[in-house]
Point group: C2
Chain length 242, copies 2
Amino acid sequence: MKRSFASAVAKVPPLRAVPFLKSIPQTDAPLLTDRQREELARIGVRLRLSARTLIYREDSAAQWVFAVAEGVVKSYRELPSGKRAVSAFLFPRDLFGLAENGRYVNSAQAITRVTLYRLPMNELSVLLKHDGDLQFKFLVKVTHELRASQRRAILVNRRDAAGRLAMFIALMEEHADRAVEDGRAVPLPMTRSDVAGFLGLSLESVSRAAAELERRGIVKFESRHLARILDRVRLARLVAAV
Amino acid sequence: MKRSFASAVAKVPPLRAVPFLKSIPQTDAPLLTDRQREELARIGVRLRLSARTLIYREDSAAQWVFAVAEGVVKSYRELPSGKRAVSAFLFPRDLFGLAENGRYVNSAQAITRVTLYRLPMNELSVLLKHDGDLQFKFLVKVTHELRASQRRAILVNRRDAAGRLAMFIALMEEHADRAVEDGRAVPLPMTRSDVAGFLGLSLESVSRAAAELERRGIVKFESRHLARILDRVRLARLVAAV
DNA sequence: CGCTACTTTGATATTTTTCAATCTTGGTGG
DNA sequence: CCACCAAGATTGAAAAATATCAAAGTAGCG
């Protein structure tokens, strides 16, 4: 029993990524093997952070890479104008800690209470060099993120605010915990301001777009942080109408 | 002599990327060693394509990865609305051919006459598995692209068209061939429509933004495809004012 | 040297941002 | 357990910017 408990917690979460090579229909399979997760857990530290904790700041020395086990994290940049642009929201099985020349490119902050694995960059490098297969999986994961970033860039370019928000809700639904998500309720743990920063809109526009989706009977906001999809067909149509 | 000719051409171009680990000040160093370039050239084919050649189409089977040796390529997606969103422009020492489940995610087309190396994906996989160091360099390169994509997403989110175009010109200048670029002339080989697709603007807005930059004395368009930077300070200020 | 594709320019319509005021809600402490 | 407070969210009206529609102008290529 003790052993099963240990095997349940003493592993980094398996990563989530669609491979670039053709594979078995299973597109959303966990990327890492149990053995690899254990190896990573060995060099890492498990952290529990409360909501709103700043994980690292832009331009600070990048010593670690992080893997999300539970909760949601945002990666963002403060712009000279005072706005904050949100580069990504990170969910369980995501990796973050993008660095350039040994410095973090973004800041990262916990949105909810989170559980993270903190992996020292230098030890990770050694591990990757020893384990070509593991390294290949990191390559797959980063490639997956690159696609996601490009896709988001395209979707965000659309002019209409309601369409952007619809796209965002659809995106968030993909990350929703199937177990919790009984019907069609999509948790949106971030603030409207965060959503605005991600979509490149003012927060007022996000608020108005939410009101519009609700008025049109496509989505019902049961609370600020929980959206219920009422008309999946029209939502999909809105998302596709780029 | 034959031999030196061979060594000059029978190699894939060295990749360009800023590493994530801290390194020697040399931030823009060629990524690949001569040996690695030869290895890659061995499995690849060198292609010369004329301007406007379609290299591959979105959703087609992704058999190859490409490396740009000369010229400029655009990677884009056709949207249901009929617009084309440009994901990236690829320059010498760039890699392209992003795939998902064995299918290309974007379409790619030559903008100028180009020289490419076409690398078969399956042979490349084998090579990467054998050469952990080479694989690591691919990881660095993809990570570099991910940063570039995120950065672009942030810059494109700014509202003002003139600022976006200024940012674009500054970006293109980074890729300009130093040898050719005597003064401050920046080649813009793509059409206004391509620029619009990249910046998320209508092509009329791009045209007007260009007129505005010219009116303000920041940039002079010596031709449609050649911009001369007149006031580097104010250009930089515009770019930074995100 | 003419055609065709690409650009520019103008006027109007649409949309979002901005500024300002008000409303909610989750958390805190009495 | 309830009231209060402050951060976050909503709503309204006006201003600013880009998209769109339309027409005319350029220039590169065969």
